[in-house]
Symmetry: C2
Subunit: 273 residues, 2 copies
Amino acid sequence: MAPEAAWIDGAAATALPLDDRGFAYGDGLFETMRAAGGRIALWDLHLARLLDGCARLGLAAPEPAALAGDCAIALRDAPDALLKLVLTRGGGGRGYARPHAAPIRRILMRHPLPASSDPRGLRAVACATCLPLDPRLAGLKHLNRLHQVLARAEVDAAGADEGICLDGAGRVACATAANVFAVVDGVVCTPAIEAAGVAGVARAALLADRRFAADIRVGELWPEQLARASEVFLSNAVRGVQPLREFDGRPLTVGPAAEAARQALSRAGWVES
Amino acid sequence: MAPEAAWIDGAAATALPLDDRGFAYGDGLFETMRAAGGRIALWDLHLARLLDGCARLGLAAPEPAALAGDCAIALRDAPDALLKLVLTRGGGGRGYARPHAAPIRRILMRHPLPASSDPRGLRAVACATCLPLDPRLAGLKHLNRLHQVLARAEVDAAGADEGICLDGAGRVACATAANVFAVVDGVVCTPAIEAAGVAGVARAALLADRRFAADIRVGELWPEQLARASEVFLSNAVRGVQPLREFDGRPLTVGPAAEAARQALSRAGWVES
C-alpha cells in the first residue's frame, strides 16, 4: 500500500535513492506507530526500541527531537493515522562495508489507521515457518523480515487472521506481527524474545504496567502449553490487544486476561481513535 | 556508492517507490554480476540461482529474456561493468501480507568494476558474527543481509580484507561476500551451505567443473580444520578466486589449489577484464 504522504529527513518525498542501504541489505530499523488526536501512542517506548536498535547495529542515533518534528509535520493534516518510521544507514558504502561517518536517513510514511479488529477475537494458526535462533538481532524491529513475510503467506493461505511462529529451538516466539500472551495453568505467560522475534512496544507497555505485570511469567512458552492455554491474546502497538477466538482450529474464550491487558495498555496511553 | 546508471523494469530510474517490499522487508533477491566485453560472466548460474530463489520465496519468476534485455541496455555504453540486479515483490500489500498477483519489480544498477585483488592474496579474519541456522533461506542471495553488514564491520575494524563467519552450529559457513575453500589434509573442502550462508555462483561454477570438482569434499568444515589448512581461497562472481595470504594472523601460502580453481573459473567463462 503506497503511503498517503511521506518525508525523507523531514522533506516531502515520494521515492528512495537507489543506493539506500535499507533497500540493499535491510540495513536499518523501523517502527509502526498509532497516532490518535495528533499524539503517538507509546512514543517513549518506540523511541527507546529505536535507540537500542541503533546501538546494537552501530547506527548513529537520531536526534529524538528530529524524529518528533517529522511526526508532528506528518500529523498536522491527519491527527489519526498510522506512521511508519524507518531509519537506515543511508546511502552507499562499498558492498556490505559501512560508509564512514554516514548520517542515518529518516523515512517517515503516513497511512490511514487500519479498521478496528473484530471484537469477537481473531482466528490464528500455527505457522511452519520458524524464526532462526539469532540472539544478536533478537528483539529488534530491523528491516530483515523475510521470515515474517513467509509466515504471513501461510496465514493468508489458511484464511486466518494471524499466525504464530516457533523459534529454531521449537519454542513459541511471536505472531507474524504481534507478541503472544497465553494463560497456562492460570498464569499469564509470554515468550522472553531473547533468541528470536520482535520485542513489541505494546508488549513492553504491558510488562511495564505494575498491576498487569505482577503475575506474569516471562520465559519459555512451548507449543504444547499454547495448545492447552485457557486464553490467548496478541499485542501490537497499532492494533492494541487482540484476543484469539480460535487457535489452530481449537475454539478459545475471550477472557479476563485480555481485558486486563486492554486496561493496562489504556493506562499506558493507548487509545482507540 | 550510488550507481552510475539504473533501470527499473527496463526504464531509466534514479529512485525506488517508497512502498517497495524490498525496502520494507528485504522481500526480494539480488545478483551481483561481472560483465567484461559486454558479456556477463556465469550468467546461466546467476539466472538459475535467481529462479530457484523465486520458487523458494513464492515470487513470480521473471522472464529470462526481460532480464537479459535489461542487462544488454545497461552494458551498451559500458561493456566492462559490475551489474547489480535486484528482484523485489514490488509495491504494497498490507503489512507482511503479499499483494495478490503482484508483478515482481526488476531493478538493475550499473557500477564500475572494482580494482583487481592484490595478487599476493587477501588477509582475512574470523568474525564473531555468526550466521543463524536457517535452512529455509540458506543458499539464497536474498535481501536480508544484516549479518553480513555486521560481520563486514568487524573486518573493517580489524583492518583486514575479508572475514569468515561460522553458522549457528559452529561450522564454517561463508566469508562476508564470498565462499570459502580450504585444503585440509590434502583435500579441498568447502561448506555445504545447507543451513546458513549464500551459495555463490562462482562456487557453483567450480563445483560444476569436472576436473576441479573431482577431488573436492563438500560438507562440514570446522574452524579447527580451517586453522590448520595448508591453503585457503575464496570465490566470488565479481572478484573471481581470491587466495588468502593470512587468516587470523597465521600466514598462508598461495598454492596450487587456488590456481586450479582460477583455471576452472576461466573454463566456465570468467575473465579478468
